[in-house]
């Protein structure tokens, strides 16, 4: 067991090109997915919190439920969309990193939107009279509240990022786990497990966990610094 860990750690430290490529792709895909999903989910979540419209309750329930969307189902949906036999087949995105970004963004979107809605809703209760008095329209309140809730939003984004990096079923279906093209940490771990290389698989898992830990520690550190100034 120790040998595999030592071996995997050595591969990382020695800058093994294949492994580093896999690590880099994992981060690129998941960070991109968080970025694009948030671009939409933050304002959408805030808008649902601030605007009242028919069917709003249903939308909230749906978003909350979609936080538990099974990754394979998301994978299958995106596969059917991006397949040459599907409506977006002509884009030629299937089995590329872009397809993995799409499917991860789909998984992240409900999490970020639902948690953002909750947070903005709470903030709105606190701010609503003051902002109205100052002349903030509901539309203008969206960026104001998102910015004032930035410390809580970091946690929301990390939750999304965690879901993206931890996920294997969806990226396997739409990425295909192609060596050097769409192979990421989780699909590598699944592959090594099915080859019976349990120790190597576990070591890769340890690397993934370490990376996740580092990113969370960084976000926490930055958040705490900023919080000390402005909270």
């Amino acid at each position: 067991m120790g040998d595999a860990f030592a071996g995997a750690a050595w591969l990382v430290l020695a800058g093994d090109a294949v492994l580093l490529g896999i690590v880099q792709l994992s981060l690129q895909v998941s960070l991109s997915a968080v970025f694009f999903a948030s671009l939409l989910a933050l304002p959408v979540g805030a808008a649902i919190a601030l605007y009242h419209f028919p069917g709003r309750g249903a939308v909230i329930v749906l978003l909350n439920a979609l936080m538990g969307l099974p990754p394979v189902v998301a994978g299958l949906l995106v596969y059917l969309m991006l397949s040459r036999a599907g409506p977006l087949g002509s884009l030629g995105l299937l089995f590329t990193p872009a397809a993995m970004v799409v499917v991860q963004a789909l998984l992240i979107f409900p999490i970020v939107a639902a948690l953002t809605r909750q947070m903005v809703s709470d903030l709105w209760d606190e701010y609503h009279e003051q902002l109205t008095s100052l002349g903030t329209s509901r539309l203008r309140a969206i960026p104001t509240l998102l910015w004032d809730g930035r410390f809580s939003l970091v946690t929301t984004l990390l939750a999304g990022f965690g879901r993206a990096t931890a996920e294997v079923g969806a990226v396997l279906i739409v990425g295909g786990n192609i060596a050097g093209v769409t192979r990421v940490m989780t699909t590598s771990i699944a592959l090594e497990t099915s080859k019976g290389n349990l120790e190597l698989a576990l070591a890769l898992g340890a690397i993934l966990m370490t990376l996740t830990l580092l990113i969370n520690a960084m976000a926490f550190g930055v958040g705490e610094l900023a919080k000390r100034r402005y909270e």
Binding site: Q28, V29, L31, S32, F35, F36, S83, R84, A85, G86, G89, S90, L94, F95, T96, P97, A98, V101, G176, N177, I178, A179, V181, L191, T193, S194, K195, G196, N197, L198
Partner: protein, 264 residues
Amino acid sequence: MRRRILGALVGLFLAASVPADDQKFITLASTTSTEHSGLFEFIVPIFQAQTGISVRVVAVGTGQALAIGCNGDADAVLVHAPAAEQQFVADGCGIDRRAVMFNDFVVVGPKDDPAGVLGADTVAEGFERIAQAKAPFASRGDDSGTHKKELLLWADVGIKPTGAWYRELGAGMGAALNTAAAMQAYTLADRATWLSFSNRQGLSIVFQGDQALHNPYSSILVNPNRHPVKVDLARVWHDWLVSEAGQTAISQYQLNGHQLFTPN
């Protein structure tokens, strides 16, 4: 300043998520057995060096590989399930099916062999003994080439495998072997995956060598009349596999001193 940083970030993510298509490649849907054996890692670089075309391998069960091909999401397939392959061509999903290579299936089971498969003369007899002893048997259950083969073998001996001893996993070959090892169950495996599998625990080969365990692999081009696939590049690969260069490359691939595939 903040705006500039944001702009740079957007650019970075866009660049990251859109891969540069600076080289010629085809997408090949193939089986986990060929991928896990390491065959592609060996022959694809040789092919690429000779032709300048890279091959992106999507390794799934034969059933899914054929579905991917039929949807036009791969340019060619390399699979091992003769009946399903014929259907694939008959349905108009693929064209120009060619035999490329073969190896064989082996029956794997616990070393102490509770069902006594070791003494069997044919694979049929071995399967009968497993059923009679109600010894645990792990079936792939995933519509893969190996699963189809296993069902054929049961049908040949006229047994409908049911009961607590027969466990349908719905898993790939590697996962099935991991499970069989944990349950000390018998299972049918292709030789290539078995040889490249490390987590054997108490498992070993209990039967091999019957003609009925022949495992042929075919290359089929995805029908270019159905989907805009890269048929020209795929044909280079298709032809290369059965050319002398390709057949030599296949025969040269060894794992731990064993040749895993025999070219046709």
